[in-house]
C-alpha cells in the first residue's frame, strides 16, 4: 500500500517530540477522521533551528509529519513557508490517492507553527518598529530586501511597513496591497 520511503519514515520518524520552550506552536486536526498533528518550532537568526512534531494518525500522517520536519529543519522562515503538501508527497515517493489528504495536515501544521511564531514576534516588538514579516529581524523601511533572510520586502503604501509576500492587506494598518488597489482602479 505504502512506498518504501513512507514505511521507512513511519517506522523511524524523525524529530518526534516537543521543544521545551518553543517559539511557535501549530496544531491542526481533521474533524472528519479525527487525526491530529502538532508542530513546534524554534527560530534562530531567521532559520528553523529546531522542529518537533507529535501526530495522532495513520501511517501516512506519521510519515508526512516526519518528512515535513526533515524538510523544514534549517530552512529560513520564508523557505519553510513555501513547502507545500504536494512537495511533501513527492519527497515521500508518492502517497496512495486516498491518503493525500493526510499530507495536507503536515505542511499546514508547520505553517501554523511559523505563523504563531511571527504573531508572537509582532506582539513583542515596540509599536512603529519595522521588522521582516518572515524572520522578524529589524528591517529599515527604505530597504528592498531583508538582510538576515534575504527575502524581498514590499512596503505598505500607506504606513510603510514591510508586507508579507502573499498578504492581500497590510498586517499593520489594514490597508489593501498596492496591486490590489491598482486592479480595482
Amino acid at each position: 500500500m505504502y512506498s518504501e520511503k513512507v514505511m521507512e519514515h513511519f517506522r523511524n520518524p524523525r524529530n518526534v517530540g516537543e521543544i521545551p520552550d518553543p517559539d511557535g506552536i501549530g496544531e491542526v486536526g481533521n474533524p472528519v477522521c479525527g487525526d491530529m498533528m502538532t508542530f513546534q518550532v524554534k527560530v534562530r537568526d531567521g532559520r528553523l533551528a529546531d522542529v518537533k512534531f507529535k501526530t495522532f494518525g495513520c501511517g501516512a500522517a506519521i510519515a508526512v509529519s516526519s518528512m515535513v520536519s526533515e524538510m523544514a529543519l534549517g530552512k529560513t522562515i520564508e523557505e519553510a513557508l513555501r513547502i507545500t503538501n504536494a512537495d511533501v508527497a513527492k519527497e515521500l515517493g508518492g502517497l496512495p490517492p486516498n491518503k493525500l489528504h493526510c499530507s495536507n495536515l503536515g505542511a499546514d501544521a508547520l505553517h501554523k507553527a511559523i505563523e504563531d511564531y511571527l504573531a508572537r514576534e509582532r506582539q513583542k516588538r515596540p509599536a512603529g518598529e519595522c521588522r521582516c514579516p518572515y524572520c522578524a529581524e529589524p528591517v529599515h523601511p527604505a530597504e528592498k530586501f531583508c538582510q538576515p533572510c534575504g527575502v524581498t520586502v514590499d512596503n505598505c503604501r500607506k504606513c510603510g511597513k514591510p508586507l508579507p509576500r502573499d498578504a492581500f492587506e497590510c498586517p499593520e494598518c489594514g490597508a489593501a496591497r498596492a496591486e490590489e488597489e491598482e486592479k480595482e482602479d
Partner: protein, 410 residues
C-alpha cells in the same frame, strides 16, 4: 529485519481459510463433474445431486430440515440485498416502511437507501452503548405501513449478539417480517432459525471455513422476495444464473464439518478470546472494550486503544506478524469512521483507535500470548508521539476539536 516473525491470523471476519475437506469435495466439480445441474443428460446428474446434498447440509447447520427454503447466492452481501430489496418490493402493496438497525452492515444499509430512493420510508433504529437493539425501541419505530425490519444476528465489528428471538417476537406482534444478517454469528454460535423466529437469514460459506463465492439466504415458508437477478429457473427463479456448483459443494461440506465441530470450536475461541479480553486492559492503560461484555461472539475481541490511531497500530502489528483489523477511518477506503462505532456513541478520535481481533478455530494460545506481549510496546511507542496523549498527560481535554484544517478534502 533479519527474520520475519511468524504470522498470526486474527482477522477471520475478513476471510477464513478453506477447510481441506471442503477443497477435496470441490475438486471433482471443476473437472469430471463440470456439467450444468439443469441438464437432463448424464453430465447434469452428479452436479444436480451434489447441489441438493449441499442444500440439505447448509440448511441443517441453521436448524432447518427442509431444503426448499435455502437460496444459494454468491455472497452474504447478495443474500442481504435479495432479502432487503426483494422482500420489501414484494410487500410494497401492503406498506412502504422498513426499519433497519443503526449497526447494520453496508450490504443491508445500502439496499435500504436504494429503497428510500424508490419511495420507501426508512427508519434507523438506534442501539445502546453496547450496540444492542432493544425490542421496545424496534417496536416504537413501527407503524401500520411497516413491512420489514432488518437486524443483524451479531456484529462483526463489536461482537455483540442481538436478542434476536425477542426482536423477532416483537416483529411478529406487529405483523412485520424480520430479516437477519447472520454473517458474524454462523460458525461461531449455534443457530436455529426456527427457534429464533426470524423470516429470512443470510450467511456466507466463509463464516464456517467454506469457499468464497458461495452463500445462502434462508427464507421462511411463504416469504417470497422479488428476484434481483432474472433469467432462468435456477433456485426456483429466486436467483437466476448457472449455479456455482464447486463453491456450493464446498459450502455444503464445510457446513457438515462445522455442525459436528461447532461446540468445540466455540469453546476454544471463547477461551482464547476471554483470555485477551481479560488481559488486555491489564497490559495496556486506557483501553475501552467495545460491544457487549457478556452477549458477545466467542473469539471476538474489539477495543479502542485511546490516543493511538488504528492504522498505525495495524502497520506495526503487521511488522510483528499479526493480521488484525480496525474500524479507523484511515483504514477504510472511504476514509469514514466506522458507523457502528459512532452509533454506540464513541467520538471520532476514539473510533479512530479501534482494533478488531477475530480469532478462529486454529488460533493458538501461543499466538494470543505473543500478541499480549507485542501490543504494549507498540501502543507505548505510538502514544509517545501522540498529541492526544500529551494533552491527556497535561490534564487537558484530548478530544476537544482543534480548528479544522482540511474541510476541503472531504
Amino acid at each position: 529485519m533479519d527474520r520475519k516473525p511468524p504470522a498470526a491470523y486474527f482477522d477471520h471476519a475478513a476471510a477464513a481459510p478453506l477447510l481441506p475437506e471442503a477443497l477435496e469435495a470441490m475438486r471433482p466439480f471443476f473437472t469430471d463433474h463440470f456439467g450444468n445441474p439443469q441438464s437432463i443428460h448424464r453430465f447434469g446428474i452428479e452436479p444436480a445431486r451434489a447441489l441438493e446434498e449441499a442444500r440439505a447440509r447448509v440448511a441443517s447447520l441453521i436448524g432447518e430440515s427442509s431444503t426448499a427454503r435455502i437460496v444459494f447466492t454468491a455472497s452474504a452481501t447478495e443474500s442481504n440485498n435479495l432479502a432487503v430489496k426483494g422482500i420489501a418490493r414484494s410487500l410494497a402493496a401492503k406498506g412502504n416502511h422498513i426499519v433497519v438497525s443503526a449497526v447494520e452492515h453496508a450490504s443491508v444499509m445500502s439496499p435500504a437507501r436504494t429503497l428510500e430512493r424508490e419511495g420507501f420510508e426508512v427508519t434507523e433504529v438506534r442501539v445502546d452503548k453496547y450496540g444492542t437493539v432493544h425490542p421496545g425501541e424496534l417496536e416504537k419505530s413501527f407503524h401500520p405501513g411497516t413491512v420489514l425490519a432488518a437486524v443483524q444476528h451479531a456484529s462483526n465489528e463489536i461482537g455483540t449478539v442481538q436478542p434476536l428471538a425477542e426482536l423477532a417476537a416483537a416483529c411478529r406482534r406487529h405483523g412485520v417480517l424480520l430479516h437477519s444478517d447472520g454473517t458474524a454469528a454462523v460458525g461461531r454460535i449455534p443457530v436455529d432459525v426456527g427457534a429464533l423466529g426470524v423470516d429470512s437469514y443470510a450467511f456466507p460459506a466463509q463464516s464456517f471455513y467454506g469457499p468464497k463465492g458461495a452463500a445462502a439466504l434462508w427464507l421462511r415458508s411463504g416469504v417470497r422476495p422479488r428476484s434481483l437477478v432474472e433469467g432462468g429457473i435456477q433456485e426456483k427463479g429466486r436467483r437466476a444464473g448457472t449455479e456455482n456448483v464447486p463453491a456450493i459443494v464446498g459450502m455444503g461440506r464445510a457446513a457438515e464439518i462445522a455442525a459436528l465441530n461447532l461446540a468445540a470450536w466455540s469453546a476454544h475461541m471463547a477461551r482464547l478470546g476471554g483470555r485477551l479480553l481479560a488481559a488486555l486492559p491489564e497490559r495496556v492503560e486506557h483501553i475501552i472494550l467495545t460491544g457487549h461484555p457478556e452477549h458477545r461472539l466467542p473469539g471476538h475481541v474489539s477495543l479502542c486503544v485511546e490516543f493511538v490511531e488504528g492504522e498505525s497500530m495495524l502497520l506495526f502489528l503487521e511488522d510483528e506478524g499479526f493480521a488484525v483489523a480496525s474500524g479507523s477511518a484511515c483504514t477504510s477506503k472511504t476514509l469514514k469512521a466506522s458507523p457502528v462505532l459512532l452509533a454506540i456513541g464513541l467520538p471520532h478520535s476514539v473510533a479512530q483507535s479501534s482494533l478488531m481481533l477475530t480469532l478462529g478455530k486454529d488460533t493458538t494460545e501461543a499466538e494470543v500470548d505473543r500478541f499480549l506481549e507485542k501490543l504494549p510496546p507498540i501502543v507505548e511507542r505510538l502514544r509517545s508521539m501522540s498529541p492526544l496523549y500529551a494533552k491527556y498527560q497535561r490534564g487537558e481535554d484530548p478530544y476537544a476539536t482543534p480548528e479544522s484544517s482540511c474541510e476541503g478534502g472531504h
